[in-house]
């Protein structure tokens, strides 16, 4: 870095939510042309800090300078006008509009009579995409783009507003490696243009690839800010969790019992075909595949969320005939969906969320004993160490890892015999991951059969007793535990 121009300085930022001191005297600065990585467990306050910068949350106290000028209260408009651009974890594009329209949304070029000047719009969009080395047809509908292309479009939109400060919240969580490389290229280009980037990620291996400095947050405080070349993953993990992680994959070796789940010739319309496998009690069965190989659709279909075309699902030798979630739950199946938002009712509190599935087995007129329900919730909050341990709190206010535990409680409450985990650690921080794995091991040890769908190679190798590899909707191979990362990737990719 030749010019160390300070783009942004935040001092003593403080924010309290009911129940949590989310940000405690945070100091952070950002230079032009820097990629400043923000690390921390879920709930450490990273997203809150970004929301304050982008103006969607008000800070309680603290000062912010941009380009050396102090700024007062921020709202989204003001923040944009100051050159702060936020790219959210969930993309905020309109899928029914074209790339060009999305880039210039709210600022479309007009003809004399006030209609949209399509020619000019597409030309301008083309130019801004080319300047970012992105080759997407501006006339394409966003709906038809790959996820990575959508992300690039979103960044183009933000950059197009003359943003000098770019906030990226876990931009690679939905991307494949190749797609990620494309994104990194773009980030480096922006860097060379003097844009300052704050980059939130849970993927430690990305830090060396793209970062300039890294700031670690824990429990609403800044632990340290270090140049990337002076640190390594172990040190960062230690700073993040405030302790050494003794075991990242706490796998207990358990005795594998009888056959508990059997899938026979299961096929869907077009997502997967002729899937056969068996799962035993106490076993963790991994299903690995690249994005779009059909593993998520398979899981949803087993549970009865998506329709199937043919084939059977058997639990304890009993065929599930109705093929809907209610019937699956009755037979002892539980599912943690890939998208946690699909699992929780955000505005209900912990007890209601924990007992949701068990209620589906009761008749409508059944009277609920609120006190028993609270005791239930308390039991799981204690045994799964849900944090903060406050049950009369709406679940929307819990962090990702704790939300995952609340969903898990729901299935434990139903005494499920088979659990399907679809990407159980998606968007969860390092310590939270270890927690989830520890729980999985423990459940398997208690005799529950687990289907674990994951695209994270290290975790699936460490946790699964057997691994099935899916490719284009078919199971192509089965590996035992001693498989290497290369074998797994080879089997899943097409050559």
């Amino acid at each position: 870095m030749v010019t160390k121009k300070v783009l942004l300085r935040m001092e003593r930022i403080d924010k309290k939510f009911p129940g949590v001191h989310a940000l405690n005297q945070i100091d952070l600065d950002l230079y032009a042309g820097e990629v400043h990585i923000l690390l921390g467990e879920n709930g450490a306050g990273k997203s809150t800090l970004m929301k304050i910068l982008s103006g969607s949350l008000e800070r309680d106290s603290g000062n912010i300078w941009i380009d050396g000028k102090e700024v007062g209260d921020l709202d989204p408009e003001h923040s944009k006008s100051l050159g702060i651009g936020m790219v959210y974890q969930e993309l905020s594009l309109c899928p029914n509009l074209s790339v060009a329209e999305n880039i210039f949304l709210g600022n479309l070029p007009k003809t004399k009579i006030g209609a949209v000047d399509w020619e000019k719009l597409n030309k301008m969009a083309k130019e801004s995409l080319v300047s970012l080395n992105v080759s997407i047809d501006p006339r394409m509908l966003v709906r038809n783009l790959e996820v990575a292309e959508q992300q690039l479009t979103e960044i183009a939109r933000v950059i197009n507003r003359q943003s000098k400060i770019l906030l990226l919240d876990e931009p690679t969580s939905a991307l494949s490696d190749a797609e990620r490389d494309r994104l990194f290229e773009l980030i480096r280009l922006l860097q060379s243009k003097g844009v300052g980037i704050i980059y939130i990620s849970h993927r430690l291996n990305e830090i060396k690839m793209i970062g300039t400095r890294v700031t670690v947050m824990r429990d609403g405080k800044v632990v340290d800010t270090i140049p990337v070349e002076k640190t390594d993953e172990n040190q960062l993990i230690q700073k993040m969790v405030g302790r050494k992680l003794n075991e990242q994959y706490p796998k207990i070796h358990t005795k594998i019992g009888d056959k508990i789940l059997e899938i026979k010739n299961l096929s869907s319309e077009n997502k997967f075909k002729n899937v056969n496998f068996q799962l035993h009690s106490g076993e963790i069965l991994g299903i690995f595949g690249l994005m779009g190989a059909g593993q998520t659709e398979l899981a949803r279909s087993i549970f009865g969320l998506d329709s199937k075309m043919s084939g059977e699902v058997l639990i304890d030798g009993c065929v599930l005939t109705k093929h809907n979630p209610n019937d699956s739950i009755r037979h002892g199946l539980g599912m943690l969906t890939r998208d946690r938002r699909e699992g929780l009712v955000p505005m209900l509190e912990v007890p209601q969320n924990v007992t949701l599935a068990i209620r589906s087995q009761e008749s409508f007129g059944q009277i609920i004993k609120l006190r028993t329900e609270k005791e239930f919730a308390n039991k799981f909050v204690n045994s799964l160490q849900i944090n903060p341990p406050i049950i009369n709190r709406k679940v929307v206010f819990f962090s990702g890892g704790n939300q995952q535990k609340i969903i898990l409680s729901r299935w434990l409450c139903c005494e499920s015999k088979v659990l399907i985990f679809d990407e159980p650690t998606r968007g969860i921080d390092v310590a939270g991951k270890a927690d989830v794995f520890r729980l999985m091991s423990q459940l398997a040890n208690e005799g529950i059969g687990i289907v674990m769908i994951s695209s994270e190679i290290p975790e699936i190798i460490a946790m699964a007793d057997r691994i099935l590899v899916m490719r284009r909707g078919e199971i192509v191979t089965e590996f035992q535990q001693s498989v290497t990362q290369e074998d797994l990737l080879c089997a899943a990719s097409e050559f």
Binding site: K16, P18, E342, S360, Q366, I368
Partner: protein, 359 residues
């Protein structure tokens, strides 16, 4: 889970954070209580203002009047609240009231020849049961169209509303019932029990108010203590999560619309008693009033939030406001203007307060 998980969180810092959380937990209880009692506070403020502004407001006869005016809206609002919490809306409640009351009134006052047998006039008990059956059936049809046909609730119930009004016109031949104009009519009045429901009183308290309170209690109990109520909140709060949890969304929605239809029939009977007559066009405008009551009472039109007690106070605010404007001799045209603006104002205030407290 038998044995708890070993987790050596850095205790000092965690404790530090919970000290704060313990305190703000107390204040969050205060806040959430305030949040929930918003409609009650608004109602009290309105009542206090009116008792100073008009000497007649706090008189016994005026209060009885308010209760009578409010009870119909309150009964409808409870059914509406259930529907709204699931994320739907029922724009047919007024029409269902009219149809079920009309069918009952026709059967209770007229005579038919079916297959050689003379039928009717039926007794008051049959009349009420038939009215309720009509209400439930129409509600269930609403639910089936919405849940099975996957038509937006708004469109389905609006279409049903027009259909039902039409059927009610056919049933009553476009006349008020009883009317003396129809040759087959035997009685010139509705059964006295029905009239009592609308205009009578128990120990000085209006009978219609008692019906309304019972309905509110039933609604409150369903929402708070039954599996059905829980499903209602879950479906409105996150339909996907409800599905993953095995909740039968179709059946829940059908049942909820059925209950809304039933409540509409009850309101229709009470209203026909109050008017001592039923007609196909009665309870006009009650659909929107019931929606407004629920929303003023804290229900969220996007689903997932709301409650029976809140909706009761929503209805009370609407009824008291109308009464107050009458007492203050406000011009009838201006009354509409004021009522509309007050609804918008209250909901605006409510939105603002929610955002303030939840942030």
């Amino acid at each position: 889970m038998s044995n708890s998980i070993e987790n050596e969180k850095s205790c000092a810092e965690t404790a530090d954070r919970y000290e704060i959380s313990a305190k703000s937990n107390y204040s969050s209880v205060v806040k959430s209580t305030l949040l929930k009692s918003g409609p009650i506070i608004a109602f009290l403020l309105l009542a206090i203002y009116l008792s100073f502004a008009s000497p007649y407001f706090l008189t016994g006869s005026n209060i009885v009047n308010i209760v009578r005016q409010t009870s119909i809206t309150a009964i409808l609002a409870i059914g509406q609240t259930l529907v709204i919490i699931t994320g739907g809306i029922d724009l047919s409640v007024g029409a269902i009231s009219a149809l079920s009351a009309s069918v009952a009134a026709v059967l209770m006052t007229q005579q038919f020849q079916i297959g050689g047998f003379m039928i009717g006039p039926v007794g008051v008990g049959w009349g009420i049961i038939i009215a309720m059956l009509v209400g439930v059936s129409v509600g269930v049809i609403n639910g089936v169209i919405v849940a099975k046909g996957r038509i937006p609730d708004f469109i389905a119930t609006m279409g049903m509303s027009m259909t039902i009004r039409g059927i009610a016109l056919l049933v009553t031949k476009g006349m008020p019932v009883p009317s003396h104009a129809v040759a087959t009519e035997l009685k010139g009045y509705l059964p006295e029990q029905i009239v009592w429901l609308g205009n009578g009183s128990i120990l000085g308290f209006p009978a219609s108010g008692v019906v309304a309170i019972l309905v509110v209690l039933v609604g409150w109990f369903i929402l708070r203590y039954t599996v059905l109520g829980r499903n209602v909140y879950a479906i409105g709060g996150n339909r996907d999560a409800a599905r993953v949890s095995g909740i039968n969304i179709v059946r829940t929605k059908i049942l909820v619309y059925g209950i809304s239809g039933l409540m509409a029939a009850v309101a229709g009977i009470v209203l026909s008693g109050r008017l001592n007559s039923a007609n196909a066009l009665m309870a006009d405008g009650e659909d929107m009033k019931s929606v407004a009551s629920a929303v003023i009472g804290g229900a969220n039109l996007a689903g997932g939030d709301g409650g029976a007690i809140g909706s009761l106070f929503g209805a009370l605010i609407m009824g008291t406001l109308a009464n107050g404007l009458n007492l203050l001799n406000v011009n009838a045209f201006w009354q509409r203007v004021v009522q509309g603006l007050v609804i918008i104002g209250i909901v605006l205030f409510d939105q603002w307060r929610r955002r303030k407290f939840k942030a």
